[in-house]
Structures are given as structure tokens and as C-alpha cells.
């Protein structure tokens, strides 16, 4: 059998897993691994400018492709810099394998140079972690790491590697395992047919149904069957922030996003429904508003691969533990075989009611005639310029909500944002990951002048690798989302939410070797967008000045039910 060093085994294991690209940053504890990487060309290493960006880039790559993201960082500060990115991936259930260097085994615990207990720090934010104790264990450990990260409810897995375990002087036989068997880990492969049957019976009886689909449908590649199910039954569909694209955004049966900043009709439909079919969604507090006032008349079917998600915040009447794809497929075939259909008259009345809600509010906002442009207009211009066909990554804040509301995603894996942790600084590095996955695709990063400055150094990475990302900086000269809460709940006292002395982003972009365009007037917006997207091989940083006083609506009224919303600064339900 072939003999390899620990470092060579790590790299070979990546090759054997079919990993084509990893994101990282070198340092003392991982130099053996970097040397092994240097001597091969199957795994491409992307050098970022900050380890947090390495994790977000790997994360964005994973969200866009469905493959696991891989990160390599050194011990101590390299590893701790990666922590925010690991937590971001954990909260959104993104498969990721993080290789972190560690000090030599015999120094662990001695407060050695650049030592941190990475396994300890990451315990609450990883699906699992490993620590290498002898090089012989590396192949099996890596196999398990990828297996755990990508199966069941996906998530990040940490592999901590003391430097001596990668020494080129110690060579041991290498064979990559074909299969893993773990007696303590066996994700559910199929939903219970009896439960699926029960769910189908409920669906066929429903008079005011709604499908509430989340990120799990995207993670579990269930969109095709979700769409079939909705079409077969003529049910309305709403998506969570994480689920956007799981159902075609421009389809008439689509209600838009639900929840805190969801559409009026989506929230009204939820509240008034008699049946909620929740698939791959976890009844997050940004969705339900007050859990006890949540949808009082609804029977709840809940499909989730993680039993701990079911009946966590809202009690499920028909729980189904299983992968979305298989469960939805079985639902579709059961319905196709059944002669029964839901009461058409009742559904027609339901759709009439829904149309009424749509007409009443939709997603309207006031345009300033001659005044500063509105952030919503920027997203609409982006949609127009890209014909709805871009990958859109986002940072966190008002711009994120406007992007979610106004860019219609017709396909899964096109909308890439941090929902669970809400990590400012996610947008640009995740766009890097997406652009590497799809070099010819249009990739736009919708951001704010606050968020972009949290990983702006990655403009340098973009130059190094020639990534033609379009940065859409919706510049409201404020930490807009914070400011909105201060307007609504703190008497307009804007404590620390104002961004003084902003950089000249155009010149900043130029100094990084990119193109910068500033837009101040709505009349110039479409043309500027067209121009940006016509520069196919250049990164364009669009600094677009918008009305700083705009709020995101609808917005749930805190502690109310789903139908309690502010619809503008002055109107509420």
C-alpha cells in the first residue's frame, strides 16, 4: 500500500472526496499541508484576505452547488477568525468541512504559541468535530467528516490537526475508505409512509391550505417535487427567507416570503389557513411572530429530516421525519394515484380571498418624485438588468430584505444569504465562492455601506482571481436596519446607527483595481446597471445613494400574530 505523510493524506482525501476547490489562509501550523497542496494540481486553493472570508466563500460555494465547502486555516488567530463563518454555516445548515491547524500534540494545553482550543470553541457551532491523534486515523476521519457534513441535516464539521500529525517524516499506509458505517449516526432515509398518507388525507380535505417551504427544500433538492405538489393541488406557496427559489418566484401560486418582513398576503394566508404544509422549514421566530398566537385555525403537517426541528416552536399535528425530496415525491405519487382532489369550490373561494389581499397591499412603497431614490428601486433595476437570472448574494440589513422581497428567484440556489445568524460581511466573500462555482454566471452582491466594510478586503482576492462580481452597494449612509428599529421603538434616537465619514467607494474600488460607478439619480440607474453587467470580465462596484429614511414593510408588530403588521410608517393591520 502507498505510504503518505499526514499532510499528503489530508490532500489526497480531499481529492478522493472529489473536492476541486478549497478556501484558506496559511500559517505555521498548516505549512506541511500547504506544502502538500503545492505539489499537486487537483485541488485548487483560493487565498482569501481574512479567514472569515474563507468560510463564507466556501459556504457560498456550497449553497450555490450543493457540494460541501472546504476551508483550511492555521491554528490560533487563523482558526478563531473562521469562527463567525462556521457559526453562519451552522445556523443555516450548510455542509462544510473546516481543517484547522493546531500546535504539536505534545504542546497542547501548554498555552503554546498560537494555541487555542478550537474544538472547545466550536462545540456549539458545529455538527461534529474531530481531532487528529495519529496520522493513521486521517483517512477514516476525513471520510466521516464529509459524510456527517453532507447527510441528514447538513452542517459544518471541524477537523483539528496538530502540526506533528502532518509531518513529512512520518509516512503511513493510505487507503481511502469506500464507505462509512457509524453505529451512533444514521440519518433518516425515508419518511414514514403511514404519516405521509395521513398528511395526504389532510391535504385532500383542506379548504384553506398553504404550503410553507423553507431552506430544507433547497438543501435537500426538493424543489421539483414541491412544485409538482403545489401544481397538482392548486395550493398557494410561501417561502421563508432561506427557501426563496425553492418554488418559482414569478409563479402566480407564489405568495412571496412570509414572516417578519414577509408579504401582506403571505402572512394573511398563513394566519387564516386551515392547513399548513411545512416542508424543510423550522418555524423560526422571524416567521411565526408570537408562537402562541400563531395560526390558530391551522392543522400543521411538518416534514423535516431533523426530529429536533419538529414541534420545537409550534406543535405539529402530522410530524414526518424524513428527507424532503423522498417525502414530497411519495406525496405526489399518492395524490396522483388517488381519485380524490380537494374541494375545488372551496379552493376557488380561498384564491379569491388571496387575490383580495394581494390587491390590497402587495409590496407597495412610495416613490420620491425628484427626491432621492428608493432602495427598492435599486433591486428592481437589478432584476431588470439581469432578467432575473443572476446569483444574488446579500449582506445583512434592510438591503437584504429588499432583495428578498423584490428579486424573484425562479430557481433554487440562486439566493444566497445569511438568515439564521444574520452575519454582516457575508455578501462579498460568499459571492466569491459562487463565482468560482459558476465562472460564467452573473453574480451580484447586494450590500449596504455598513456590511460591505466588514469584509471589503476581499476586493483584493477578487482582483487576484479575476472575479467579475457586481457589488450593488445600496448606500443609505446608515445602519439602516438598526435605524429602522430606533425609529419605531426608540423614539427616533439614532444611537450609533449613523455612518459618518464613509469612504469614496468608487476610488476605493479603483485602488483595488476594479471599476467603480456612483449613482445618485434614479434617471441614471438603469443605464449604470446595464453598463456594469456589460463589463463581463470586470468587478464593478456600484455605489448607489438612496433615501436614508426608508423602512422595510410589511413588518410584524412584535408579539402579535402573523397577521399583525405595519404596512407603512402610518398604516397597520
Amino acid at each position: 500500500m502507498e505510504k503518505l505523510s499526514g499532510a499528503e493524506m489530508l490532500v489526497r482525501a480531499l481529492q478522493d472526496e472529489g473536492v476541486e476547490i478549497i478556501f484558506g489562509y496559511p500559517g505555521g501550523a498548516v505549512l506541511h499541508i500547504y506544502d502538500a497542496l503545492f505539489q499537486q494540481d487537483k485541488v485548487q486553493h483560493i487565498l482569501v484576505r481574512h479567514e472569515q472570508a474563507a468560510t463564507h466563500a466556501a459556504d457560498g460555494y456550497s449553497r450555490a452547488t450543493g457540494k460541501p465547502g472546504v476551508v483550511l486555516v492555521t491554528s490560533g488567530p487563523g482558526a478563531t477568525n473562521a469562527v463567525t463563518g462556521i457559526a453562519t454555516a451552522y445556523m443555516d445548515s450548510i455542509p462544510m468541512v473546516v481543517l484547522s491547524g493546531q500546535v504539536r500534540s505534545d504542546w497542547i494545553g501548554d498555552d503554546a504559541f498560537q494555541e487555542t482550543d478550537m474544538v472547545g470553541i466550536c462545540r456549539p457551532i458545529v455538527k461534529h468535530s474531530f481531532s487528529v491523534r495519529k496520522p493513521e486515523d486521517i483517512p477514516e476521519m476525513m471520510k466521516k467528516a464529509f459524510y456527517i457534513a453532507t447527510t441528514g441535516r447538513p452542517g459544518p464539521v471541524l477537523v483539528d490537526i496538530p502540526k506533528d500529525q502532518t509531518s513529512p517524516l512520518v509516512k503511513v499506509p493510505y487507503e481511502y475508505p469506500k464507505k462509512v458505517k457509524m453505529r451512533s449516526y444514521s440519518p433518516v432515509a425515508r419518511g414514514h409512509s403511514g404519516q405521509i398518507r395521513k398528511a395526504v388525507d389532510e391535504m385532500l380535505k383542506a379548504r384553506r391550505p398553504v404550503i410553507y417551504a423553507g431552506g430544507g427544500v433547497i438543501l435537500g433538492d426538493g424543489s421539483e417535487y414541491l412544485t409538482k405538489l403545489a401544481k397538482l393541488l392548486n395550493f398557494p406557496v410561501t417561502n421563508t427567507l432561506m427557501g426563496l427559489g425553492a418554488y418559482p418566484g414569478s409563479d402566480p401560486q407564489f405568495l412571496g416570503m412570509l414572516g417578519m418582513h414577509g408579504t401582506y398576503e403571505a402572512n394573511m394566508v398563513m394566519h387564516s389557513s386551515d392547513l399548513i404544509v411545512a416542508v424543510g422549514a423550522r418555524f423560526d421566530d422571524r416567521v411565526t411572530n408570537h408562537a402562541e398566537k400563531f395560526c390558530p385555525g391551522a392543522t400543521v403537517i411538518h416534514v423535516d429530516v431533523d426530529p429536533a426541528s419538529i414541534s420545537k416552536n409550534v406543535r405539529a399535528d402530522v410530524p414526518i421525519v424524513g428527507p424532503v425530496r423522498q417525502v414530497l415525491e411519495e406525496m405526489v405519487s399518492m395524490i396522483e394515484e388517488s381519485p380524490d382532489r380537494p374541494d375545488a369550490k372551496a379552493l376557488e373561494r380561498w384564491w379569491d380571498e388571496i387575490k383580495g389581499w394581494r390587491e390590497y397591499h402587495g409590496l407597495r412603497y412610495e416613490v420620491n418624485d425628484g427626491g432621492p431614490m428608493k432602495p427598492q428601486q435599486v433591486v428592481q433595476a437589478l432584476y431588470k438588468a439581469t432578467k432575473g437570472d443572476a446569483y444574488v448574494t446579500s449582506d445583512v440589513g434592510q438591503h437584504q430584505m429588499f432583495a428578498a422581497q423584490f428579486y424573484k428567484f425562479d430557481q433554487p440556489r440562486r439566493w444566497i444569504n445569511s438568515g439564521g445568524l444574520g452575519t454582516m460581511g457575508f455578501g462579498l466573500p460568499s459571492a466569491i465562492g459562487v463565482q468560482f462555482a459558476f465562472p460564467d454566471a452573473m453574480v451580484a452582491c447586494v450590500t449596504g455601506e455598513g456590511s460591505i466594510q466588514m469584509n471589503i478586503q476581499e476586493l483584493s482576492t477578487c482582483l487576484q482571481y479575476g472575479l467579475p462580481i457586481k457589488v450593488i452597494n445600496i448606500n443609505n449612509q446608515a445602519l439602516g436596519m438598526v435605524r429602522q428599529w430606533q425609529d419605531m421603538q426608540y423614539g427616533g434616537r439614532h444611537s450609533q446607527s449613523y455612518m459618518d465619514s464613509l469612504p469614496d467607494f468608487v476610488r476605493l474600488a479603483e485602488s483595488y483595481g476594479h471599476v467603480g460607478i456612483r449613482v445618485d439619480r434614479i434617471e441614471d440607474l438603469d443605464e449604470a446597471m446595464e453598463k456594469a453587467f456589460s463589463l463581463k470580465d470586470r468587478l464593478v462596484f456600484m455605489d448607489i445613494y438612496v433615501d436614508p429614511s426608508e423602512h422595510v414593510y410589511p413588518m410584524h408588530i412584535a408579539d402579535g400574530s402573523m397577521r399583525d403588521m405595519w404596512l407603512s410608517k402610518t398604516e397597520r393591520t
Partner: protein, 163 residues
């Protein structure tokens, strides 16, 4: 309600810290905890007692089951079961109290495992309630030191927790 959760898990470094970490991370409390390898050295058996209503316990067990190293677990309090805790207790034993302490130990079916002219060291096994009762009977003034192992438990009858 008090529950006894018994867990079979991989006997691997880090496994225990994940179980304990889960409790602090999610705001659950641990009253007692004992752990040791089983007859199969690759497995450990961990018993813990915790307080919670049905909903909380459901969440605790679901989240424990999610830990990669947990192989199986059971809430012993759901069925008939035997629970035992071992206590070592140093008791002041001088003058007339010496005989009184000895009598109490006998009533509780304990054993005196070490003796000096002024101190008895008592070993006592039983349910946690019984140990509490013993300490209560002896009285705070007499008790010098108490060590308890925490609860161990097993189901009654044919039911076994194994892989």
C-alpha cells in the same frame, strides 16, 4: 418533574464534554451525572438526572440523540426502573452519639467503613431520597462531609439498553 436519562455513547475523548456542553448551551440543568465505560470498552454509559416538563424533556432527548457520539438513550423514568446512588459520609461520633449514629446507620442498612475515636465514615447506597433522609436524620450538626456519586439506573424486567 425529575427524570433519569441513561445514555449509551462512544467511549471517545470529547464525547462527555459534548453532552455537558449541550445542557449549558441550551439552558437545561443537570442535577447529577455519572459516567463509566461499560463491559464493552468502546462504549460508555452515562446517567444523568434533570428537571423538566414533558416538552423540555422531549427537547433534551432529541438534542442528545443528535450528538454524533450518542448511540442510544432512554428516559428511565418513563417505565419501572431501579435507581441507586452511593454516598460516603463522615459523621461526628463521640460519646453517647456513637451508639445513636450506629443505630441510624443500621436502620438505613449502611455500613461503617472507617472509624476513628471521633468519626465514623459511613457508606450508604439507595435512592437519592433515602440518602437525603439519612443525612436529614443524622442532622447538619453531626455531618462533617458528604460525597455522593449521583444516580445510576437501569430498567426493571427484560428491557435492556444495549446496541
Amino acid at each position: 418533574m425529575r427524570r433519569i436519562i441513561s445514555i449509551l455513547m462512544e467511549n471517545e475523548p470529547g464525547a462527555l464534554s459534548r453532552v455537558v456542553g449541550l445542557f449549558s448551551q441550551r439552558g437545561y440543568n443537570i442535577e447529577t451525572l455519572t459516567v463509566a465505560p461499560t463491559e464493552d470498552r468502546t462504549l460508555s454509559r452515562l446517567t444523568l438526572t434533570t428537571l423538566g416538563d414533558d416538552r423540555q424533556i422531549e427537547r433534551i432527548t432529541k438534542n442528545l440523540n443528535k450528538l454524533i457520539e450518542v448511540v442510544k438513550l432512554v428516559d428511565l423514568t418513563e417505565g419501572p426502573h431501579i435507581e441507586r446512588e452511593l454516598m460516603l459520609c463522615k459523621v461526628k461520633a463521640t460519646g453517647a452519639q456513637r451508639a445513636e449514629v450506629k443505630r441510624t446507620v443500621d436502620i438505613f442498612r449502611g455500613q461503617i467503613v472507617d472509624v476513628t475515636s471521633s468519626v465514623y465514615t459511613v457508606q450508604l447506597a439507595g435512592t437519592s431520597d433515602k440518602l437525603d433522609a439519612f443525612v436529614g436524620t443524622i442532622g447538619d450538626a453531626q455531618v462533617l462531609e458528604v460525597v455522593r456519586t449521583g444516580v445510576s439506573g437501569i430498567s426493571r424486567g427484560e428491557k435492556v439498553l444495549s446496541i
